[in-house]
């Protein structure tokens, strides 16, 4: 029984597989270049994280989006206070009598978002007029003025998503949720934008392509050029096997590095990110998908680049050409998201799809969150009289840039699964071509 087990195909395979994989990992560890590449990778990610830490620790200036904190007539009462008491904010003789004037700050960030039940799926009614400048009673205000959007409910916002034009129509009753907490929005938006930016472009694309470029291109080629491959192919082992086991060794170095890096970054952003509790536990999901995407992408590129190395002495040239194409596709994916079909003819397109699916799972409110930041900006621009700076809330634009949908038209879980399977298939195809080339290669030097 025991000897049967010892002689099973698996145990034989296992001996050769672990021998070459271990050998390959040790070989990596003895090379300074390995440590330089991994060190630069880690260092650059930490450098970017410094900017993040800085942003998270910087006070974001509170902006008076609805400009009701000014005292236009100089009577000491801010506009917002005069409005709810029905006095004229532009007449210094008209002010609420017997009431202490509010400090200006009270009328900044005084009407935050109440969009908890916002939805793209159906017409939804959101918003609550926290500061009372819509709900106020008085002779100047008619019921119809409180219900601009005509849904028979005063002081709310109606959201209608048009499937046809794919636009969210936001119809507000006016003065509802019009001066949200800029800092709260900005920190959340910047936090998400950082994770998506560094995750997609930094870890999945840059590390995803540079680690294999430096570490996998020579997986077979270096041994052939050095003349040390002779020792390996003089043994009873198929060349296709050598390629797989060398790949295993390469993954044995790259994957733990990526896992460690993602873990480190998730801890950094988890502790420093805006949160009610001391750690943003829910973000672990997005870091998990970033890690999976980076691991799969390095697997595919590793298989492709080592194949390039087998194909040609200067295989790194081919690898760089592919890297340029992939960079283009990474931008297509980031900018157009799932709307572009061309990214499907790349590795990175599928890799980033996994992250997009992960982002949609981690932050289901993402699209609405972006819409509301933009909407407030537009409102404040419409209202702007003094040529003040106006526009989307801080953090809205970077978040909009790095955020995109996976565009597969299936649920997020299924999208992540499909993208992963496509990547695994790509890796298998690259390996198959690589081992065919390797088998047919005459080792003649």
């Amino acid at each position: 029984m025991m000897s049967e087990k010892m002689n099973s195909v698996w145990s034989k395979l296992d001996r050769k597989a672990t021998a070459i994989a271990e050998f390959t990992m040790r070989q990596y560890r003895t090379r300074i270049s390995t440590w330089v590449v991994l060190g630069v990778g880690l260092g650059s990610m930490l450098l970017v994280a410094l900017f993040y830490a800085d942003a998270m620790n910087t006070q974001i200036e509170a902006i008076d989006n609805d400009q009701d904190s000014y005292d236009w007539d100089g009577d000491g009462y801010p506009t917002g206070q005069e409005v709810i008491h029905g006095t004229d904010p532009y007449n210094s003789n008209s002010y609420p009598i017997g009431i202490e004037p509010d400090p200006r700050e009270k009328w900044i960030n005084e009407d935050d978002f109440n969009w908890d039940n916002a939805s793209f799926a159906q017409i939804s009614k959101v918003g609550y007029d926290d500061d009372g400048d819509c709900r106020r009673e008085g002779q100047l205000v008619s019921q119809s003025q409180k219900d601009n959007n005509g849904d028979s409910i005063p002081c709310n916002i109606v959201l209608i998503y048009s499937n046809y034009s794919q636009v969210l129509i936001i119809s507000s009753d006016g003065n509802v949720d019009e001066d949200p907490d800029d800092e709260k929005y900005a920190k959340e938006a910047l936090h998400r934008a950082f994770i998506l930016g560094v995750g997609k472009m930094g870890i999945v694309y840059l590390l995803g392509i540079f680690l294999p470029l430096f570490l996998a291109t020579g997986l077979i080629r270096d041994e052939m050029t050095n003349g040390t491959m002779h020792f390996m192919i003089a043994k009873p082992i198929a060349r296709g096997e050598i390629l797989v086991y060398r790949m295993l060794g390469y993954l044995g170095i790259v994957w733990p590095f990526l896992i460690g890096l993602c873990l480190l970054m998730s801890l950094l952003t988890g502790f420093m990110g805006p949160s009610e509790s001391f750690f943003r536990l829910s973000d672990l999901a997005i870091w998990f998908t970033i890690c999976i995407a980076a691991m799969l992408v390095t697997l595919v590129y590793g298989a492709i680049f080592s194949t390039f190395g087998i194909l040609w002495k200067q295989g790194v040239v081919l690898a760089i050409i592919l890297a340029a194409w992939e960079l283009g596709m990474a931008f297509v994916s980031v900018l157009a998201g799932g709307d572009s079909a061309i990214q499907k003819f790349s590795v990175i397109g599928w890799g980033l799809m996994i992250v997009d699916a992960g982002a949609a799972m981690t932050w289901p409110d993402m699209a609405m969150f972006i819409e509301m930041g933009e909407w407030v900006g537009k409102q404040s621009c419409d209202r702007s009289t003094l040529g003040d700076e106006c526009g989307p809330l801080i953090g809205n634009e970077p978040l909009r840039f790095f955020s995109s949908g996976h565009g597969l038209g299936v649920t997020n879980w299924v999208a992540a699964l499909i993208a992963s399977l496509v990547l695994i298939f790509q890796a298998a195809a690259a390996w198959f071509i690589g081992q065919s080339l390797f088998k047919g290669k005459e080792m003649d030097d």
Binding site: R26, H230, F231, I233, A234, P236, A238, R239, S436, E442
Partner: protein
């Protein structure tokens, strides 16, 4: 070059049993061309057992011959068989083959034991089995006491012996050594020659290449001569030696004090002439190469001369080749 998908290459293990009815090595009308250059032309021979020297000048096709045996390259025409199997298509016979490449490069960062153990596992041995086997072969080539040192710190001769040990793992039937003596000092040469002779005595089939006839002569009597990619002779070295004895041979010794060495060497009866063409170099002329070559190490060691290299210039092989190809 387009890939040739005809390689099968199942992962066989040490249990692979060679076909005993087939010759260990068989070349049937094999040719190999690189572009328009013929590296080997219509080579046919079969070998089983014993030590065979493959003799030829640099570029005669010795390495090409070995590469064909090791399935590194594919014959342009004809058939190569190891134990009746085509080595280009099937790597299984390597379970019973050991190969010592000509290349200098090794995994310098590994210890000798590590290196041999790692590659022994490719025969399907477990870690423990592989380490036991590695210790055995390293002791066999006389490196047992330094096996925990890094290969990078080894001398040329020790490195050659590590390569031989690598080839001897799993006790192969066929051992192929490509220029194993090149660049080694006299002591290393002697110990490597002893190892090869010992393998022959154990009944293994050994192929060893060299461009120096006397080296091969000291190892074996069965010689294959390659010249310009053609097989010139497959036969006994005695016949070749007779031809050779009609020519004086030179032995070139690189040493610290050639004058002192000359004084000691002049006492050998068979020495016909001595010259010091330049500092640190002594040329001995003789018609009895084997005798002089056998006496030299004793003289060098007894008088503690510092010798870095002993070479036999190609002249004698060249004259043999001239003779065989019908020249003067």
């Amino acid at each position: 070059m387009m890939p040739d998908l005809s390689q099968v290459g199942e992962a066989e293990t040490k249990e692979w049993v060679p076909d005993n009815t087939a010759p260990v090595v068989m070349f049937d009308n094999v040719s190999k061309q690189y572009g328009r250059i013929n590296a080997l032309t219509s080579i046919s021979f079969a070998l089983s057992g014993g030590v065979t020297g493959v003799l030829g000048m640099n570029g005669a096709g010795k390495s090409t011959l070995f590469k064909l045996m090791m399935g590194k390259i594919k014959p342009s025409a004809g058939e190569v068989k190891l134990f009746g199997q085509n080595p280009w298509k099937n790597t299984a016979p390597y379970a019973r083959v050991g190969f010592v490449p000509e290349h200098e490069k090794m995994h310098d960062w590994m210890t000798a034991l590590d290196f041999i153990t790692t590659f022994a596992r490719l025969h399907g041995l477990t870690r423990d089995e592989a380490e036991k086997e590695a210790t055995r072969v390293l002791n066999f080539v006389g490196l047992g006491d330094v096996m925990l040192k890094q290969i990078g710190r080894f001398s040329k001769g020790m490195r050659q012996r590590v390569k031989i040990a690598h080839a001897l793992v799993n006790d192969p039937e066929l051992i192929i050594l490509d220029e194993p003596l090149q660049g080694c000092d006299p002591l290393a040469r002697t110990s490597i020659m002893n190892v090869i002779r010992e393998l022959g005595r154990m009944g293994r089939t050994v192929l060893v290449s060299s461009h120096i006839l006397h080296e091969i002569e000291r190892i074996t009597e069965q010689i294959v001569i390659l010249h310009n990619g053609r097989l010139l002779a497959l036969g006994n070295s005695h016949a070749i030696r007779e031809m050779l004895d009609q020519h004086p041979h030179k032995i070139s010794i690189t040493c610290e004090d050639p004058k002192a060495l000359a004084k000691d060497v002049i006492d050998i009866e068979e020495v016909r002439g001595l010259s010091i063409p330049y500092a640190n170099n002594l040329i001995i002329e003789t018609q009895h190469f084997g005798v002089v070559h056998a006496k030299l190490p004793g003289i060098i060691v007894d008088n503690s001369h510092k010798v870095s290299q002993i070479d036999s210039p190609d002249d004698d092989l060249q004259s043999i080749l001239r003779y065989l190809t019908g020249g003067s």
